[in-house]
Amino acid sequence: MATDHKTLQPLEFYKTFLDRKSRPDGRNLLEFRKVTVNAGSIGTADGSAIVKCGNTTVICGIKAEIAAPGMDEPSKGFIIPNVTLPPLCSSKIKSGPPGEAAQSATQFIAELVANNIILDLHNLCIHSTKWAWVLHCDLVCINLDGSLLDACVIALITALKNVTLPIVTYDEELDKLICDTDQKRPLEGIKQPVTSTFSLFENGILISDPTSEEEQLAAGLTSITMEGALVTHMYKPGGCTLDEKQVKKLIQQSELKAKEIVRLIEEVCLSSIAER
Amino acid sequence: MSGTELLSDQGLRIDGRKPNELRRIRCSLGIFAQADGSAYLEQGNTKVLAAVYGPHEIRGSKSKALHDKAFVNCQYSTATFSMGERKRRPRGDRKSTEMSTHLEETFAAAIRTELYPRSQIDIFVEVLQADGGNYTTCVNAAMMALVDAGVPLKDTVVSCTASLVKDTPLVDVNHVEQSGGSPELVVSILPHSGEIVYMSLTQRFHIDHLSKVLDTAIKGCKDIGVILKEIMKGHLTKLDTSLQAS
C-alpha cells in the first residue's frame, strides 16, 4: 500500500511525512545524514579523501604539477577542480560528455576557488612569473544520493589538507628548478568552508541534506557555504522563494553543521598524519 | 611578391605562359566502376577527381527532400597531402563548406533537377594536388563526371579564373600568382548563353578594370568549354564504338 502510494503520487506521499515533521528515512526536517571521512587512502595521489554523506560518496584525488603561472596573475598557482559523475553513480546519469549536474558542480567548486575561499592561491607560487603549482583536483562521485556539493566540498578540503608536496626551489642563475623529493611538506593556508544543501517545499517547509529523491520532489534547492561564522557563498538558482526568517534559519543551521564538519575533518587529518 | 616578377618585361608569366594562355588540360572519364559517373581532370598541376552518384532516393535526413525537384548534394574536399603544408582537415572547415555550398548552387542551376522530384544527386570532388584554381578545376571535373553519369543538364558549366597584374589581365591563375597577392576572379558560366552562374573575387582592384578581367575570365571559360567538349565527344564516340562492336 505504502509503496503504491509512493510510486503513484510521490509528492503526496512525501508531504504526509512533512506534515508530521519527519522524513521517510527517519530523520528530522533539519537533521543531516551521518558523515564519514577517510583521508589519504589513495597512495598514488598527492592528496586524497573519501567522503560519505549518507549514501552519497565522493572520492577526491589531487595530483600536483608544475607549470608557468598566467600572464595576468604571475604570483598565483592554480587549482583545477573537476567533478565527474560516472554512469555507475546513479541511474539518472547517462554515459557520454559531462551532463548539466556535473558541469554545474564543477562550476560551483571553481567559483569557490576563484573567490579565494578554498586556499590562497599565492601559496602555490614557487617563483613569481616563472613557476607555480597546479593542483588537479578530481572529484569522482561513486554513489549519488543528493547533496552532492556538500560531499564534494568536504572531500576537496580534506584531500587538500592531506596533500604533501616536495620542496621545490628555483635557481635564477641557472634558470633551473631544484626539487627535493625526500622532504615533503603539507600545504599551508587551507580554509575551511563547509557547504550545506537544503531543499525547499512550496508550503515553506525546509529540509536539510536532501537525498536525491527529496531533491527531485522539492520546489527549490539552496546551498549555503560557511566558513566559521562567515557567509562565503549562498547559491540559490531560482526555484521556490525564501523570506528573510527562513534565510536566517538556514544560515544558523549551516553554521552549526560547519562547526561539526570542521572538527571532523581536523580529527581525520590528525589521525592520518599520525598513521604516517 | 611584386608585379614585375609575376609578369616579365617580355610579357611572359612566371611559368612561361602568355597572359591569355591556359594551362594544359588533361582529362579522363569513367575512371571508377563504383560511381555512376566519374572524371579525373588536370589543369596544369592542379589535379582533381570527381564522382557522381544518382539520382537516387534521399539518404540521411528525409527532411532534405524537395517536393518539386532533386536535391543536389556536393562535397568539396582537399587531400591532406595536396599542399605544401599538410592540411589538417580535408573537409568540414569553413572554406570547404563554403565551396561545397557554391558547388551545390552551381549544379542545382545546371542540372535539370525538376525531372527528379524527391530524389538526390551526390557530387564528390577531391583535390589531389592544389596549384591554384582549385575551385574552377573542381567545377569542370564535376561537370565532366555528370556528363559521364548521363545526368540531364540544361547546359554544361565551365569555370575559369582571371587575375590582374600590372593592369594586364591574366587567365587561369596558378598558385604562385594567386598567393603573390594579386586578385583572383573565379567565374562559372553556361558557355552556350554566356550567362554567369557563379562569380567570386578575392583581393582588390579598381572597379574600372572589372570589365576586362571579367572578359578574360569568360573567354577562358569558353576556351576550356571547347577543350572539354572535344574530350567529351572523344569519350562518347569511344563508348559508342565499343557498344556497336559488342
Binding site: - | E85, R94, T101, E105, I196, M199, S200, T202, R204
Partner: protein
Amino acid sequence: MKETPLSICEKQCVIQAVKEGQRVDGRSLAEQRKTCITFGTEWGCCQVLLGNTRVMAQVSCTIQVPKSSRANEGMLFINVEMSTMAAEHFEAGRLGQQGIEVNRLVERCIKDSRCIDLESLCILVEEQAWEIRVDIHVLNHEGNLIDAATLAALGALCHFRRPDVTLDGREVIVHQLDERDPVPLTILHYPLTLSFALFDQGKIYALDPTNLEERSADGKLVLGLNAYRELCTLQISGDGVFIRKEAVLSCANVAASRAVEMVEMLKKCLAADAAERIKGKYDGLVSSVALEAERITTQSQATAYFKTPVHNLEENADEESLSVPKTKLVKDQGIVTLETKSDVSSSESDIEMEPLPPASVVKKRVYEEIDIGNDSEEEPVMLITKELT
C-alpha cells in the same frame, strides 16, 4: 526549429512588384534601408541597424605567437555568431550554411582585402604578435546580414584601441588602458559590401534586400568595395541564378557610389562618437535604447504632419472591449470584400490616377505618403517604417 515556410503568394507578389519597379516595403530598387551606427563604451564595440536588421560587433585582442609562415605579422580572426535571438531557425553555437556564408564573405571583404595593416601588430618577430578577434553577433535577421555584418565589423575595427606595448630588451610590457593612451589599428582602406537580390534571370536587381526578398529571389550578388572604388570581393550565388556581364557591371557602378557614401557616413559617426567621448559622461549604447514611447510619439508626429490640432487626450478614447466577437466579420462573409464603391466607379478612379503624370512621380508620391517618418527629419527613431518589413 524550422524556418517559417514561404508561401507562393508572398514570393509571387515580391517578384511581380520588383518587375514593376517597386518593393514590398515601399522602397525603390536602388534604395537602401535607413542605416544607423552606434558605438559602445568599450573600445571596438559597434552596433549597426540596417532597417530592422541588427548586428553588433566587438573587437578584442590578445598576444599570441605569430604563424610561422607569416612571422612578422599579427593575426585577424573573424567570427560570426548567430543565435536564436536573430531568428527562430538559428541555433546558438552552430553556424549553418547561411552563417558560414556570412562569415566567409566578411572575412574575404575585410581580411583578404588587407584593410588592417597586420605588420604593425607584430611585437617581436616569431615570438609575440597581437591577435585581433572580431566577434559579430547577429541580433535580428530581417535580411541582408552580410552588409550589416561587414559594416559592423569595419566600424568596430575603426573604433578599436589596443593597449600600448613597450619593449624592454626582449621583455614585453603591456600598458593598461588607464596607464597610457591606447593605440588605434592602422586601417589601410575601408571596405564594405553591398548586396543585390537578383530576380527574373538576373535582369532585375534590388539593393539591400529584406529577408522576404532574399528568400524570393533567384540569388544574390554581393559586391565588396572601398571608398577608392576598388573591388574587394564579389560573389554571385544562389540556386539557379543567371546573370549577364552587363548587369554585373551596372550593379558594380551603383554599388561603388553607395560605398563612398557609406564610408563617409561611418567616418562621420566615428567622429561624432569621439567628440562625445571627449565631453565625458559617455554612456555608449545606453543612448541607443530608445523608449518605445517614442514610437507612440512618432505617431503624434504623424498627426502633426496631417496638420490636425495638437493631440487631445480626452478624445483619445479607444474601443472599450477589443476581444468582443472578433471572428464575426470574417465568419459571416468568409473572405470579406470591403468594397464600398461600385466596381465601375472605382476602376474609373484608377484610370484617372494612373495616366496622369509619368509613373515615377506617382510612385514617389505614394512613398512620401506612407513613410510618414521620413518627413520629420529630426525624429531619430522612425519606427513606423521599421514595422513595415
